[in-house]
């Protein structure tokens, strides 16, 4: 089963994907592609700590190539593979760099192919002008995904001050589905997401 982690730039997709993968038992994370050597492209393998250092950044558009993490769940005959996919953030409007538009297009192309959409929003940005602020792109992802199949909407960074106060507003705004409060940093909400993911995986 493939699960796509999607959201606006800098909402914490990469940190969530890495820490959630670790929570589910992953020990290694595929790193960025190394420069092509001849025609052969090699991906480095990172430890969880290295991945946090190299793939997470306070700047937007840190992730330009989707990163697919393999996670093995269950045992024996019940064994199942979950692919967690970290993607490039989607920003409203038209980005002026073609490279970033192409990266976002990859995310959009994946949206219809995956089995589970995990949509992250930054719970601390209500009303702000920061790139991670909840906006039209979030509304569109929500409208798209809820009609499409399994869909989880996570309000991230709830460890930060003020985030908790924003939750009622978020729940009202994204009516009709449950908005799960999480923190990619502290692991809040991971248990619930795991339970739901396993349900989808076994369905």
């Amino acid at each position: 089963m493939e699960a796509l982690v999607i959201g606006k730039p800098n909402v914490g997709k990469s940190l969530f994907t890495i820490n959630f993968a670790a929570y589910l038992g992953a020990k290694q994370i595929p790193g960025p592609l190394s420069q092509s050597q001849g025609s052969l492209r090699k991906r480095s393998i990172l430890s969880i700590d290295e991945a946090r250092r190299r793939l997470v950044s306070p700047k937007s558009y840190r992730t330009l190539v989707p990163c697919r993490m393999e996670i093995n769940l269950g045992q024996g005959r019940e064994k199942k593979t979950l692919w967690l996919i970290d993607t490039t953030g989607i920003q409203e409007g038209v980005h002026h760099q073609a490279e970033i538009r192409a990266a976002m297009a990859t995310t959009l192309a994946w949206l219809s192919k995956v089995d589970l959409v995990i949509h992250l929003v930054d719970a601390t940005t209500l009303g702000s002008k920061r790139p991670a602020a909840i906006g039209a792109v979030d509304d569109e992802i929500y409208h798209y995904a809820r009609g499409h199949g399994p869909y989880l909407l996570l309000a991230n960074k709830t460890d930060k001050p003020g985030a908790q106060d924003n939750l009622p507003y978020l729940r009202e705004h994204f009516a009709g589905i449950s908005v799960i409060a999480v923190s990619a940093l502290t692991g809040r909400g991971f248990r619930e997401i795991k339970t739901l993911t396993l349900q989808y995986l076994n369905a």
Binding site: R43, I85, G93, V94, H95, L108, Y144
Partner: protein, 351 residues
């Protein structure tokens, strides 16, 4: 571990083709997935527009995805959201107050009839054929397309596509040809909206004219393929009125009559500003003021074109070309701002 992911192969059309696609897609057909991706990558669609297009593509039941069938037919909440989304698009059109009001009423009427039917009460038909009266460029085509989608989300029409035709598409050259041609057009419109522009031109040639045959064939299809398509006859208000009074049998088959008034200059300005914003252009203050001034001065003077959104769209497209001509000789030094800005000199000239 896995391979690097690859994007769908998008057939990246040439820039010209792309602009063409953007300008015309409204009037032709919905974009395909490949087109949405190509337009997004080339910077001609915003991320939120691209997502919206992709969602609409998915929501069409004929692509056979079981999820969207579920969403379309069994999930009342998702249906309400999609109905609201279509109505939202309608409400976002500039002006057209009465038209919007009437469409909201139609929605309520349809939902009530469907509920009555569910509960076994007597219900009236929900395929409501329509007459649109208004000058060219007053939004008739745009509204017809929205109505197609509205009726699709309300489960009145299975597909909701819109086919726009005129006399030449319906009338043939010899006896029997017309009925065949018209039937073919109806077949293509099944499941959606058939929009006949300047419908009265079908009745112009008198009794010997094949136009009459086209009308008869359409009327017959309305009986035989009841509830399978929605017919909208459109044209100038006076001509439509004459046409209907000369064909009293027709009038009773079209329960809905909508009038599309000419746009006021301020509405035309609002339309231009929206169209520019969609294309990522802006007006200088001077150009904004001059253009409004121009529209005010000419209001009521172009007899047929007054209040015409298509006219301002053509003006805008010419201005965009003129701006390109102005900048192309010094592209290296042109800033992002300059590339986005249309000055008044780009607009000036004869219309």
């Amino acid at each position: 571990m896995s391979e690097r992911m690859r994007i769908d192969k998008v057939s990246v059309a040439g820039r010209e083709e792309m602009i063409e696609l953007l300008n015309n897609h409204e009037s032709e057909r919905p974009l395909t997935r490949q087109e949405v991706m190509a337009l997004f990558q080339s910077g001609n669609l915003s991320a939120e527009q691209a997502l919206r297009h992709l969602r609409q593509l998915e929501n069409r039941p004929e692509n056979g995805d079981p999820h969207c069938l579920r969403a379309t037919f069994h999930n009342p909440e998702s249906r309400r959201n999609r109905v609201d989304a279509v109505l939202h698009e309608l409400d976002n059109l500039v002006g057209l107050k009465d038209v919007k009001h009437m469409i909201h009423e139609i929605r309520a009427y349809i939902e009530v009839q469907q509920k009555r039917q569910q509960l076994g009460l007597a219900s009236s038909p929900t395929t409501l054929h329509m007459i649109f009266a208004g000058a060219p460029g007053t939004g008739k085509t745009t509204v017809a397309r929205i109505i197609g989608r509205l009726f699709q989300t309300l489960d009145v029409l299975p597909k909701g596509q819109m086919l726009e035709v005129e006399r030449a598409d319906l009338v043939g050259e010899y006896i029997g040809h017309t009925a065949q041609k018209t039937r073919d057009v109806v077949r293509r419109a099944l499941g959606g909206v058939l929009f006949v522009d300047e419908a009265y031109s079908l009745a112009r040639g008198g009794d010997k004219d094949f136009g009459k045959e086209a009308i008869d064939t359409l009327v017959k299809a309305m009986e035989d393929q009841r509830d399978q398509f929605l017919l909208i006859l459109a044209g100038y208000p006076n001509e439509m009125a004459d046409f209907l009074s000369a064909n009293p049998g027709l009038r009773s088959r079209f329960p809905i009559h909508m009038h599309f008034p000419d746009y006021a200059p301020s509405e035309l300005m609002a339309i231009v500003r929206t169209m520019l914003a969609e294309r990522q252009y802006q007006l200088t203050l001077e150009a904004d003021r001059q253009l409004l001034d121009f529209l005010l001065r000419h209001h009521g003077q172009w007899h047929v074109n007054a209040g015409n959104a298509r006219l301002v769209r053509n003006m805008m497209e010419r201005a965009i070309r003129k701006q390109a001509g102005r900048l192309v000789t010094r592209l290296d030094s042109a800033t992002r701002d300059e590339l986005m800005t249309l000055i008044w000199a780009d607009w000036e000239g004869e219309w």
